[in-house]
Amino acid sequence: MRTAEIPFEFFTVAYLTRIGNQAARTLAELAKGLEQCSDASIFHHTFQTLGTHHFLTEGFSNDFAQWVLASTNRGELAERLAALDLRDYVSLAELRSDLRRVVSDYCAAHPQFADQMALERFYFCESVEVTVPLGYTAKSLEEFRSGLERLSHASFCFHFLSSRLRLQLRTNDFSLWLANSLGLETLASSINRIDVYTNTLESARAKMLRLIDRERRRKA
């Protein structure tokens, strides 16, 4: 089995949530908030929330969609916001632009709902990301598997989902290293296709481990 020249370095991540000074009480205010809030806020309510609610595998994908459904009862708009697939985005600017477009288009098409008061306010928050190396690395597929098994949900999500923003590529830390450092393009691609919306982080990790085991058996 091949050994990588550049090892995979496992990190742990902790997110500090900052409460912003912005809130929305209507869909029009949500649209305005989406325009003005920080990138860290867009990240918090989409990538970060998907990680902390990963155990909900149906009907929950980001805070904006959840608020629109629960507090304004606008199912169609909630569906459209929920349908924005985070894996399609490598920058928060693109994601913000689409979120704004979806809400603004809806408000333009349904002006009677734009200024209707919601049951609860939407509070814009931000994530402050703090990373620390875990002190273990992987040079082989075996070591990689062992490190993967040890990761917490937050760190697994950091490497598997939010890494797309850091890499600015439609892939993740795991797949990138497996393809570039171990030459395992097929495995890398299979891992990248694991659906984080219909899997919990635990079941996504289990699938990943099964794919790695299959690869190891194939090479044995």
């Binding site: 902790a14 500090l16 900052r18 409460i19 909900l56 009907g59 703090v130 875990l134």
Partner: protein, 409 residues
């Protein structure tokens, strides 16, 4: 000031069975860069109340991460605590007639405590309004000072808030339990949800025999559905509304109701509410109104675990951690959409929200008719608590905060 010796130490590794060994390993990694830096927690009581309960668990866990943490308690006389109780209620929005001597008493005790306490830690976390004025002890912007507010400041009495804001605005940051509870401040505000301890007596697993014993002691039939609200007897918890919802459900389901709580013995208003509840329940042997002693964690745990549906029909609520306790036990919850409850009960995902007696009754009937949906909500609720509302998560938040402050400096 008195340094508190924590009791009932639970080893950090014991939590591995609950959250996984990987999570524990990562807490150690996050703590490593903070070793050698002093952390100080200050609050106003060593026993009783949610803050002391959290610190009693949090401080030993931080020590196991080899952090130099200490916990000090502010000393005050009866007059000080009378003033701070009025402040507390006023900050929650209750009526308050400002008396200049109140501020003087508050400042005098703050000064005495500043003189007694060494306040030179790298990270000082000051809990709630009582010790907020200790910020005056800070020398030349040394260290990082954080104010942890455990109460709801959404509608504070303006006089008390203005007085307190003068101190709060000099901190490096403030922590709130919900965005809704925060204020417009110029300092950074952080969100830390309150947390439960899965290994405490109130939340740990119990033997089936023990639960059966508790039910027998209170003459509750284990063979029929049990609805329960565990809360002190307070009008804001709407116990009479719970009875009315139960009565509506009872027309379709042969169920029982438990209303269990403390607080009536030393609270005149609690005693009045308890009488109202008993009056409303009169004549129905399936309504069990239980006035529990102030500290009955195992009984509360058993009643929650024995319940078919747990209710929290509050009219106003802080964070409402009894909801997290029920969710942790995989119970389907029907709760009011107030305070911090919607953060815990994500409607149709981790429980059901209601806005009225009728809505509460309907949601209970729905869950009793669909046990498979009730089980799914309970399971997802458990996962939600595991991911977001455990004491280990609270510890991780503090580590993230200290690391972020340290790196920014």
């Amino acid at each position: 000031m008195t340094e508190v010796q924590t009791a009932g130490r639970v080893r950090l590794d014991a939590y591995a069975a609950v959250i996984g060994a990987g999570e524990i390993e990562e807490l150690r990694s996050l703590a490593r860069p903070l070793r050698g830096k002093e952390i100080q927690m200050v609050n106003s009581t060593a026993v009783g109340g949610g803050v002391a309960e959290i610190l009693n668990r949090l401080v030993p866990l931080a020590e196991e991460l080899e952090l130099a943490i200490r916990w000090d308690v502010m000393m005050g006389g009866e007059d000080f605590f009378e003033v701070t109780k009025s402040f507390h209620n006023a900050l929650h929005g209750s009526a308050y007639q400002a008396r200049p001597e109140d501020m003087e008493i508050f400042l005098a005790y703050s000064e005495r405590n500043r003189a007694r306490l060494t306040l030179d830690a790298e990270f000082a976390v000051i809990h709630d309004p009582q010790p907020a004025a200790l910020i005056d002890a800070r020398k030349d912007h040394a260290g990082h000072w954080i104010w942890r507010c455990h109460i709801d400041l959404s509608q504070p009495n303006p006089t008390v808030w203005k007085f307190l804001e003068g101190f709060v605005s000099r901190y490096d940051g403030a922590i709130f339990s919900s965005p809704e509870f925060s204020r417009q401040l110029l300092i950074p505000q952080y969100l830390f949800h309150p947390a439960i301890d899965p290994l405490s007596e109130k939340n740990r697993d119990l033997e089936a025999d023990f639960i059966a014993g508790v039910l027998a002691r209170f003459q509750i039939d284990p063979g029929r559905p049990l609805l329960a609200q565990i809360s002190r007897f307070d009008r804001l918890k709407d116990p009479v509304g719970v009875i009315r919802a139960y009565q509506s459900v009872k027309r379709y389901f042969d169920c029982q109701l438990v209303l269990a709580g403390g607080g009536a013995a030393d609270d005149p208003e609690g005693a009045v509410v308890l009488n109202e509840v008993r009056h409303e329940a009169h004549g129905d042997p399936d309504i069990h109104v239980l006035e529990l002693p102030a500290w009955s964690p195992l009984e509360i745990n058993a009643l929650q675990r024995a319940s078919t549906v747990v209710i929290q029909k509050s009219l106003r609520e802080g964070f409402g951690l009894t909801v997290a306790e029920a969710l942790w036990k995989k119970k389907p919850v029907v709760a009011s959409a107030v305070g911090g409850i919607p953060i815990q009960v994500i409607h149709k995902h981790t429980g059901l929200l209601a806005h009225s007696v009728e809505g509460t009754a309907y949601q209970i009937r729905f869950l009793l008719s669909h046990p498979e949906i009730a089980a799914r909500l309970g399971e997802q609720g458990h996962q939600h608590v595991k991911e977001n509302f455990l004491i280990t998560h609270n510890l991780r938040n503090y580590l993230a905060l200290f690391l972020a402050l340290d790196r920014a400096a």
